[in-house]
Symmetry: C2
Subunit: 368 residues, 2 copies
């Protein structure tokens, strides 16, 4: 098969607003709908690259803010880039650092030029601008580079929202200018909060810059999630049809299904890995808390239908024992299962769309 | 090849006092000299069974004391035994609980009958006797069951030492009587501290009970290690030649080599796993501390000669990054490497003895 150029987006099937597609990156193609496990600090917590490829993960996400602070993007560049540093040969998407600057760092000072802040690790003074975010992500050698945007808090005033959108647009143009790495794809980020008109305004701004993909930012910032889902069917389809659509930082399994239904292609979220470490595990019958006493002598796997290493080899009683004793293997087996659940869910969603049985597939999800 | 009966010990080669042998257990044969990774709470910390078999581990150790407290041996028995509970199909040796009762528990009260103590977890009252230790280990379905002994502290008086030896002997006879599980092998434990005559006295007592293997206990309890090594060549060979000899709770790589040289066959120790989590890693050039600043941009593997997953896939710079950020993957990659180092060292020691080049092999170890 002829290798497609980097950025090539092939829309393979649509059913309603739901889509199945393939996006070419410098480290291979990814098939959408897709979930990207989050590898904040050059590692998906507790997972080896082999664990991730074995479960069928096709792309992971790295965090610019965290890698910029430790071990620094210059070090990773000097070590041959993020792929080589963490031994991951498949695609990597990096965020811009913007969201973390707004959620983790302290003493932020935002100007049109950029953002001054203090590190959440040691309080040291840091500065990120659109140009610096691009430089960091190019140092990392990311396949998909996210624009540096301003993500306003929820709630915020209409004026604050407009200022953030306009600044995001100005910053996007600067990102586009300074992102000079040919093998990388720059995605723009739409803001606009929970206001349909604002979203339309931001989409018009952001898509006026011709880019290989666009993302919806500014959701999952503390608002009731149903407000996002009410909007998404009227927002996602406004993004270019022939480009990938990425909903940032979302979410639970049902959120992914509803967003695919609204026309979204790509997802990332710390939720499956974070809650795994806290003992919440997703199954085809819905989520369970492995710490519960009812599992103390349960010799069954978490999910009879699951083909992951955890379910194929261990009982709920053993997983509960690992959890209650705080054993390291528990974090790994739980994480592995939850990520496998997400990856498998996206694979099945894709097959359903390709085979024009999306609605039937949705109906089969008892937890939806 | 004809399957040997459980307990069959085949002494394949000797060179000086060093030995290479095979011991048959109900879950297959183990080849000595051998190191047994410690799986305290039904898991070798951070390792999956697949990690362990991939590195060539042939047998692991489980801790009676810890498993008795959590999740209890009755629960593990009801779940099909320890092998099934933790999904480990190769041999398991369990200690008797004695050492942990003496080192971890509080408010111990030792009588000829048994030991009353309080759990280090919740302070609850517990009691272990020789009969109870056997029952717990039989519940676990252990392949090699260790006798319940009294391990006196270092230093102790000659009188205390003799009392502990005599009690250990009386307890051994009770263990032998109550260990009724045909598939399990009961090993006796020799005490005697750092006194040659006392060791000889204890060996005479313990070996008067005909058992499939014998262990040297009471070392590695705080004494200077060179005192043990001065004694071992005069102690280990006094144990029956046609039975496996197990030195409990020892030690560093050099300790294993010196003990093999003295005639020991089997080892266990938390050291390689514990120091791995603390960033100390064994290499063919000696141990290193991965946290050191000198490794910050070191793109080489830990050990160019090492075939483990860690060395085949990751740089020292990456391992240092995982260590300094406290990432879970770091614990695992470090543990995997250290255990691989121990397993490989024993494999090479065995081959050297089989090929009658033991002295040359020792000379090749630059860290010895």
């Amino acid at each position: 098969m002829e290798k497609k150029p980097v950025g090539h987006f092939h829309l393979e099937a649509e059913q309603g607003r739901a889509r199945a597609a393939t996006l070419q990156t410098a480290h291979g193609a990814i098939q959408t709908p897709i979930f990207m496990p989050v590898g904040t600090r050059a590692t998906v917590k507790s997972m080896s690259p082999l664990d991730l490829t074995t479960m069928g993960a096709q792309i992971i996400l790295g965090n610019t803010y965290h890698l910029h602070l430790r071990p620094t993007s210059e070090l990773i560049r000097d070590m041959g880039g993020l792929h080589k540093f963490m031994n991951w040969d498949l695609p990597i998407l990096t965020d811009s650092g913007g969201f973390q600057v707004f959620s983790l760092a302290s003493l932020r000072k935002i100007t049109d030029e950029g953002v001054e802040f203090r590190s959440h690790i040691d309080g040291s003074r840091c500065y990120i601008s659109p140009e610096i975010s691009m430089e960091i992500q190019m140092n990392l050698g990311s396949d998909i580079i996210m624009a540096f945007d301003e993500c306003p808090p929820h709630p915020c005033t209409a004026d604050e929202l407009k200022k953030a959108m306009d600044r995001t647009y100005e910053w996007l143009k600067r990102c586009d200018k300074s992102m000079t790495r040919k093998q990388s794809l720059l995605f723009g980020i739409v803001q606009g909060g929970l206001d349909q008109k604002a979203r339309e305004y931001s989409i018009e701004q952001v898509t006026s810059v011709d880019l290989p993909g666009y993302a919806l930012g500014g959701y999952s910032v503390g608002e009731p999630i149903h407000l996002m889902h009410e909007m998404l069917p009227n927002v996602a389809p406004l993004l270019p049809k022939n480009k990938p659509r990425y909903l940032m930082g979302v979410g639970k399994p049902q959120d992914l299904i509803l967003a695919i239904d609204a026309g979204v292609d790509m997802f990332d979220c710390v939720l499956p890995t974070r809650v795994a470490r806290n003992g919440t595990l997703f199954t085809s019958a819905g989520p369970i808390s492995i710490k519960k006493r009812e599992f103390i002598k349960d010799s069954r796997p978490l999910d009879e239908d699951c083909s992951c290493y955890t379910c194929q080899n261990f009982s709920m009683a053993y997983l509960r024992h690992l959890y209650t004793t705080g054993e390291l293997l528990g974090y790994r087996l739980n994480t592995l299962h939850n990520l496998h659940f997400y990856v498998q869910l996206m694979k099945e969603a894709r097959e359903a769309i390709l085979e024009q049985r999306w609605d039937k597939f949705k109906s089969s999800l008892v937890w939806l």
